[in-house]
């Protein structure tokens, strides 16, 4: 059977279209919807990185200011807590509220003890950056071979 090349082309076009549709299924990342857990809406998402002598934790905390956030460290235990207030203006009618409010608390057990006196915490564009230097005993050491 002779199939014209344009038919094949159209077939691929349809496949691409379906592929796009499927991709869109996952694009509700970060959006509150029925089938997601309640927890995910109020808990900030975090990233964790390990560098040679420090750890780094990043957390998504849009709308939160310095005073709304608490960071507690004890040995290798870290706790981030905070309260998200509603920023709804006075005298306005509400059409849509997707952004959650309320307080949250999240705790982590770090792989090693950190030096709590040298921890740096910065808040920028709604992201909390925590640099946690490892405790002296937990730092990597270079062993020279004799």
């Amino acid at each position: 059977m002779f199939t014209r090349i344009s038919d094949i082309d159209r077939l691929f076009g349809t496949m691409n279209f379906l592929q796009k549709k499927l991709d869109n299924l996952y694009s509700d990342y970060g959006r509150s919807s029925g089938y997601r857990w309640e927890l995910e809406q109020t808990f900030p998402r975090t990233n964790f990185y390990e560098n040679g002598d420090s750890f780094e934790i990043r957390a998504e905390v849009p709308r939160l200011e310095k005073n709304d956030l608490n960071v507690k460290i004890q040995g290798n235990y870290l706790e981030i807590s905070g309260t998200r207030e509603s920023d709804a203006p006075e005298g306005y009618k509400t059409h849509k509220t997707e952004r959650g409010i309320g307080s949250f608390s999240r705790s982590f057990t770090l792989p090693a003890d950190v030096d709590s006196t040298k921890v740096e915490a910065t808040l920028k564009d709604g992201v909390l950056y925590l640099i946690l230097p490892k405790h002296e005993a937990a730092k990597p050491k270079k062993i020279s071979i004799s």
């Binding site: 090349i5 694009s27 959006r31 992201v127």
Partner: protein
Amino acid sequence: MSDRKEIAKKEDKSIEKTRALRSAIPTVDIYENDDEILLHADMPGVKKEDISVNIDNGTLSLSGVRRFDNKGVSKWEEFSDVEYVRSFSVPQSIDVEQVEAELKDGVLKLHLPKSEVAKPKMIEIKTV
């Protein structure tokens, strides 16, 4: 055959691919009063210069790109580089010239003022 076309696209064949930026839908709150419509969108990690707001033909489209520079070995990653995209249809009564946007702590606040014509007017009732 003269109308020869490539069946597989070039980019699908090349070995090295640049990872497409994942798109995400920002969560929004929308408020309205007599003078304006107010839109708050959560876009953590997006810088001011990486946001674009377009109003064209009754469609408001938001786009914000965030990129992190990652150092070290990641143990877990719950969020990543992302492009926040969302569009809304806005009523024609919005005064496009007067739209203002501000970004603070990862929250984009858009003020969409209504044009004079669209504002509600109190009609005085005369007694005859």
